[in-house]
């Protein structure tokens, strides 16, 4: 450091040099929701720059897709967004089924929808619970895990696994629901509605939580579209877009026409439109909408086959297709290219967390470090999907 040769006071003040501190959040950090590193430049408590570094959880899913057979790839799909594995299975299966042009039995569609929506609830429970944990509220996280345990027990009964299911397969689902499963799902729905009110009262409208999340990380609608965001990230900014209603797949067109569910949007109730509170609000309200969808399916389900006739060694007709579904985190897209063989030519996974995370680089400068944690929590990323 240069020696100070200042003589007057003014010269001394100009001579004092301060430096922004470079702080490293992660890869091991309680608040980065996985193995991710964010290099932050901070002037005291104010963040002046943020740079996410990814790739710590990169497991070459796309390369593997080009080396294993179509049916063998299914367990890999579970593992990118491991908190919403049913939806991942669904996305991949739909893409391949589009290329094959087969019809899925109705009972399979019903069970798929029930499982996808239950998984959506589970994923939002974690998203909201860990968000509370990041903000400092330890207890709601454990209460939400109580309901998530029940959901995982339901999935264990139907397919044997708690987290990575590989249950929704190309052509339908792997096996039929065991007897009594559907009535237990109905009981879950009944109990969940009371518990949901508990979470809202304990965390959602808690004054400290609102103060920590309102007016933080405001994403304007134009910014949301420019960054290609999807899911609660855009709905929190007031954009009325949900793939289940606007580009329906499976039974959602029918369910929407029956008026069974609605799309919650952020309204800027507690602060600017598109702030962290709005996104958390959208996720909490979506849990109730998923319950309504599950109830509709429980009312309309009828016995029948649960899987179409798929050969063990599948050869998918040549072509390419893109299918995007509404993952709890946003639009999960699968782009599959086939040359008619046993193995895919290209199996591209468009993970919503990857695209949603890019906006963090833009949102963080100018906020406090505590807000940085709130912003990352509100993007609801799963690093498995960010890195694939």
């Amino acid at each position: 450091m240069a020696e100070s040769t200042a003589t007057t006071e003014r010269e001394f003040m100009l001579d004092v040099r301060t430096q922004d501190m470079e702080v490293n959040m992660g890869p091991q950090h309680p608040a980065t929701h996985g193995v991710m590193r964010i290099l932050m430049r901070a002037d005291g408590e104010i963040c002046t720059g943020a740079q996410p570094h990814l790739g710590y959880l990169h497991r070459c899913a796309e390369k593997i897709g080009e080396n294993v057979e179509w049916l063998q790839y299914l367990p890999y799909t579970d593992r990118y967004d491991y908190l919403a594995a049913m939806n991942n299975n669904l996305g991949y299966s739909l893409a391949v089924e589009k290329l094959m042009g087969i019809e899925i039995p109705r009972r399979a569609l019903m069970i798929r929808t029930i499982c996808a929506e239950l998984n959506r609830i589970g994923s939002h429970l974690i998203a909201f619970g860990t968000y509370g944990l990041d903000i400092g509220a330890f207890t709601p996280f454990l209460y939400m895990f109580r309901e998530r345990e029940w959901m995982m027990a339901l999935f264990e009964k139907i397919c044997g696994a708690r987290l990575t299911y590989s249950y929704i397969r190309i052509g339908g689902v792997f096996n039929d629901a065991p007897p009594g499963w559907l009535s237990e799902v109905e009981r879950f729905c009944d109990v969940f509605e009371e518990k949901w009110q508990e979470y809202v009262d304990l965390l959602m409208v808690n004054h400290i939580f609102v103060q920590r999340t309102a007016n933080i990380g405001v994403i304007s609608p134009a910014m949301a579209l420019d960054f290609g965001l999807s899911g609660p990230m855009v709905r929190g900014s007031g954009i009325d877009w949900d793939l289940r209603r606007d580009m329906p797949y499976e039974l959602y067109a029918e369910i929407w026409k029956a008026g069974a569910f609605s799309i919650p949007l952020g309204k800027g109730e507690r602060g600017a439109l598109g702030d962290c509170w709005d996104r958390a609000y959208v996720r909490v309200m979506e849990m109730m909408e998923s319950i309504k969808i599950v109830r509709w399916c429980l009312d309309s389900i009828a016995p029948g086959p649960v899987i179409a006739d798929i050969p063990k060694t599948l050869r998918v007709p040549a072509g390419e297709a893109y299918v995007g579904i509404e993952n709890p985190r946003g639009e999960l897209g699968h782009y599959v290219v086939s040359d008619g063989g046993k193995v895919a030519v290209r199996c591209r996974v468009r993970g919503p967390s990857f695209t949603n995370l890019a906006v963090v680089e833009e949102l963080m400068p100018g906020t406090l470090i505590a807000d940085a944690v709130a912003i990352i929590g509100s993007t609801d990323i799963v690093v498995g999907e960010t890195d694939r």
């Binding site: 309680p30 400092g136 330890f138 207890t139 209460y143 109580r146 103060q211 406090l368 505590a370």
Partner: protein, 382 residues
């Protein structure tokens, strides 16, 4: 010989330690060893007290948090886990004692000691029972507040010397927070001090005897500004002890463990002993100034049945104080597991812009009440 030396120090009221030492007449002990023995006994008792308080508090915290979160907490180490703190203590003692590379060795080692020493020193001003105290200070509460404030020095030293940016953040936040909340803490205690007319803890407690031991200062007919003062005091002690919702200095989800990140083993346990001991001590201050101190129906009953000097009376009084202290600790734990964390700039805003003016307003109102209204109230005179 003993009595000469001991009676030279200013005393008021009986003191069990002095009585005990006076009763023992070992001619073979030289004169200079006498005060040292007294001090040694006192220090031993304080260290034992702090350890027991910390151990019990860790168990209480884990059980309280467990039950709030719909789970049991420790259940295996002893009946309902009461031996768990012992197991934790043994584990911490056996851990590797390390100093991070690049850390300032001297400050790193000294910081936890300073933090614990300030709390131990504050304990010297506490009476454990009406007849069992280490020193009957006329400056009681002033001394306690001063000593508990010096823990900040240790925390900042810990954060700086750890050679880690996250620890530094924790230390800076802690320093800012504690300094900000010292003001409402001290000011809110002025109203009960005015009513009591003394800083001395024993006198404050004695002033609340009456009405079967329930004539506490918190009741609105004593001074209606007591209740707002207590609320301010409670919020201030939450911030002073770095408990949620003001636990930013150790914000687990942001700074890993704040200023304690680089500490492990017995050094880390010093910080935690200080935290729980400070929680208890501040609670007891609140108990003295707002909730009667030693006075309760139990104490009144023991005085009636056994008489003022009987050892069971002192036990009842001591037990009352312990229960009140731990009620405050329980309330602090309850709040920790319910409320989220407040951001540092919001903490500062709350402290400087809202609590300090409110505290000043309460003092103004309280003192006006004392001067003009209290003399005409029949239950305040005599």
């Amino acid at each position: 010989m003993f009595t000469e030396v001991l009676s030279a120090a200013p005393q008021s009221g009986t003191n069990a330690i002095n009585d005990f030492l006076a009763g023992v007449k070992p001619e073979f002990v030289p004169a200079w060893a006498v005060p040292l023995t007294a001090v040694g006994i006192a220090v031993g008792i304080t260290i034992a007290l702090v350890s027991v308080i910390a151990m019990f508090s860790t168990w209480l915290e884990r059980k309280v948090s467990g039950h709030i979160q719909c789970r049991y907490g420790p259940m295996r180490a002893g009946w309902h886990g009461w031996l768990q703190p012992l197991a934790d203590g043994v584990k911490l003692l056996l851990k590797e004692d390390l100093v991070p590379v690049g850390a300032d060795r001297v400050m790193y080692v000294v910081a936890p000691a300073i933090v614990l020493a300030s709390v131990l020193a504050a304990l010297a001003a506490y009476p454990l029972a009406p007849g069992f105290f280490f020193a009957d200070l006329d400056l009681g509460i002033f001394f306690i507040l001063a000593m508990t404030s010096t823990t900040t020095i240790g925390v900042v030293m810990a954060g700086w010397s750890s050679n880690s940016k996250w620890s530094l953040y924790g230390a800076m936040r802690e320093a800012a927070q504690v300094v900000a909340y010292e003001i409402p803490l001290g000011i809110s205690l002025l109203v009960p001090i005015m009513v009591a007319g003394s800083f001395n803890l024993l006198e404050v407690s004695r002033g609340q005897a009456g009405m079967f031991g329930m004539d506490w200062y918190i009741w609105p007919w004593v001074n209606p500004f007591m209740l707002p003062c207590f609320v301010l005091f409670f919020i201030a002690i939450l911030a002073e002890t770095k408990r949620a919702p003001f636990d930013l200095p150790e914000a687990e989800s942001e700074l890993v463990a704040g200023f304690m990140t680089e500490y492990s083993g017995i050094r880390w346990s010093f910080f935690f002993m200080e935290e729980y001991a400070a929680m208890y001590l501040y609670s007891v201050v609140g108990a003295f100034f707002f909730f009667g101190g030693f006075e309760s129906p139990l104490t009144w009953g023991a005085a009636k049945v056994f008489g003022d000097g009987h050892v069971l009376y002192h036990c009842a009084a001591g037990l009352t104080l312990i229960l009140k202290g731990f009620a405050g600790v329980f309330l602090m734990m309850w709040l920790r597991w319910t409320l989220p964390r407040v951001r540092i700039d919001q903490v500062m805003t709350l402290g400087y812009k809202y609590l300090t003016p409110l505290a000043l307003a309460c003092v103004l109102g309280g003192s006006l009440w004392e001067v003009f209204v209290a003399p005409i109230l029949p239950w305040r005179n005599g």
